[in-house]
């Protein structure tokens, strides 16, 4: 558990962050630029001087009325937006900088970090010869050598082009599954947030406006993300089988099955599916003569107007919540109302892992 109650005062900006988040998994801090998300991360690292409050990570108190633990004693892993590798050292020098300063790093731990991020091939390179993605990998490895109690990532992908992003995203997936420390990930990209987050924290004008499990935050109507034109819902599922004849695989979630193009993931692996609200349609009776494969029974939970011609509908399929964006007219033809049992048709999905 991470408990934070911090107030930071900058020239004309006040960050007032009061929250509790789980002490495991990835918490994405999501907000537009200037919302204070980087300031929050810096405050947690002890890099913002003009601040006061309380901060507890696990059972360590880093800050309260009496004590303030300085950054170099906090045992944090911090990855800066621009990687911030030391220019005067090569890759090995950058990594050794930490190894020299932390006591009791076992050889096994060091080599496990190196293999987690494929560092071996980069180790004798000059930092100037690395691509943006390689720089970030070295920066993450360097941060993990601190044996951090928490890993803080400040928009680690924002300086990279799409190709580099896709190169490095799988590394975040493995961080997620192989590390047992909490990860705080700052981003302004809804894509990254929906792909990586277990827990989502929304920040706006220096205030935390929402904080909870990712799909809750994406689909709750009192949260801004459910009202954007690219509103999405997240479903966590598991590969349970394939139809090799059609090159399809079956993903199980909450007692139902998604049928999607086979991307080669082994059976039993966990996958995250992202469904855009505009790719979901609703019927009252189950359609039979249709090209759509993914049709599930659902119950309407709530309907809100979205702009002048549309409505956003939140539906529940057993334990899973899904958003659908329809026209006003369709909603009125279907006579949609809260509690109504319907069928949802999902035209397309994105598989995120």
């Amino acid at each position: 558990m991470i408990e934070c109650k911090i107030k930071v005062t900058l020239d004309s900006f006040i960050l007032d962050a009061n929250f509790k988040i789980p002490g495991e998994g990835i918490t994405v801090i999501y907000g537009s630029s200037g919302s204070g998300k980087t300031t929050l991360l810096r405050a947690i690292a002890g890099l913002e001087k003009n601040q006061n409050g309380f901060l507890k990570v696990g059972n360590l108190i880093w800050q309260d009325e009496l004590n303030y633990v300085e950054t170099h004693k906090r045992q944090i892993g911090y990855v800066f937006q621009d990687a911030a590798l030391f220019e005067h050292l090569n890759v090995r020098g950058n990594l050794d900088y930490v190894i020299k300063r932390s006591s009791g790093l076992s050889k096994d731990y060091i080599s496990s970090i190196y293999s987690l991020l494929d560092i071996e091939s980069l180790i004798d390179r000059d930092t100037k010869q690395l691509s943006g993605g390689e720089k970030q990998r070295v920066a993450i490895a360097r941060a993990l050598l601190v044996k951090p109690k928490i890993l803080l990532l400040d928009e680690p992908l924002s300086a990279l082009d799409l190709k580099r992003k896709n190169e490095i995203l799988p590394y975040f997936d493995s961080l997620h599954t192989q590390l047992d420390i909490p990860i705080l990930y700052v981003t302004h990209s809804q894509d990254e947030a929906s792909r990586l987050a277990d827990h989502l924290m929304l920040i706006e004008d220096g205030n935390i406006i929402g904080n909870g499990p990712v799909n809750d935050m994406l689909t709750r109507f009192d949260m801004p993300l459910s009202h954007s034109s690219n509103a999405v819902s997240i479903i966590d599922a598991k590969v349970i089988g394939r139809e090799s004849e059609f090159n399809l695989m079956h993903l199980e979630f909450s007692g139902e099955q998604f049928i999607v193009p086979d991307n080669g993931l082994p059976t039993e692996s966990l996958v995250r599916i992202r469904v855009a609200a505009r790719d979901v349609s609703i019927t009252k009776k189950k359609q039979i003569d249709t090209s759509i494969l993914n049709i599930f029974p659902a119950v309407v939970e709530e309907i809100v107007p979205e702009g002048r011609a549309q409505v956003m509908v939140r539906l529940k399929m057993n334990e899973v919540v899904l958003l659908a964006c329809l026209t006003n007219k369709s909603a009125s033809i279907l006579q949609l109302e809260n509690g109504l049992s319907v069928f949802v048709q999902v035209k397309s999905v994105a598989i995120l892992s």
């Binding site: 890099l47 170099h72 045992q75 030391f86 100037k128």
Partner: protein
């Protein structure tokens, strides 16, 4: 051609330049670091004070130093009350004069170089477990190599070339305070142009070579920096 007096002037000059440069780097580094980091309001006053020797006639500086360091001056009196001698007309006095006179040539390049590092590498080092002093020696110093080099060369060259301050507080005692620039003046006064030529030409060449070093190093660093971007 070159007499004993010239040789001793050369030795005193080089000794003075080395000692002064060492002291300049030792006191200039913390001063420049503080100036590059501080946000206090009277910073400009300190900066102007350090820069004063750039515009002040050296004789003015020498005059005030003579007043304060001489046996009737506050510092001179204080030293004599401790049982020592006045340091005007001594090598130590010359060193003090040179350090003050060359201070801006050391502090300014260091301050520029410290400021250009930015806070990011230092923040990164602190997240990696490095304390304040550790960060200074393992991040700031290596990233400021060119600044240190420029500062040392300029401090050295400027000390070699000074005349006015030395004339006022040095007294031209052979082997103690007699330096090259004054030896040249003496040769010209005595109409010994050929000796003045040798010493002047030597200083000209030395200064030129030192400045080439400064520019070569700064160029190399700036090329390296821009190549990364």
């Amino acid at each position: 051609m070159i007499n004993e007096y010239d040789i001793s002037a050369l030795i005193v000059t080089i000794r003075l330049a080395i000692v002064s440069t060492a002291i300049l780097v030792i006191i200039g580094t913390p001063l420049a670091w503080w100036l590059s980091q501080t946000k206090i309001k009277f910073k400009v006053i300190i900066e102007a004070l350090i820069a004063l020797p750039l515009v002040l006639p050296p004789t003015v500086l020498g005059f005030y130093l003579l007043i304060t360091l001489g046996s009737n001056g506050p510092i001179g009196k204080f030293l004599e009350s401790l049982g020592g001698n006045s340091i005007a007309f001594t090598f130590s006095g010359l060193v003090i004069g040179s350090v003050i006179y060359s201070l801006p040539f050391v502090v300014q390049p260091l301050q520029n170089s410290f400021s250009s590092i930015g806070r990011r590498p230092l923040e990164a080092a602190s997240t990696l477990g490095a304390s304040k002093l550790d960060r200074f020696f393992t991040v700031v110093v290596p990233l400021s190599r060119s600044g240190f080099l420029t500062a040392s060369i300029l401090g050295f060259a400027h000390t070699v070339g000074e005349f006015g301050v030395v004339l006022m507080i040095g007294g031209n005692i052979p082997g103690e305070t007699g330096v090259l620039s004054i030896a040249i003046y003496d040769h010209v006064e005595a109409m010994e142009y050929s000796q003045a030529h040798i010493l002047s030409g030597g200083l000209l060449l030395l200064s030129f070579l030192l400045l080439i070093c400064v520019y070569v190093f700064n160029r190399r660093f700036s090329i390296l920096r821009s190549a990364e971007k």
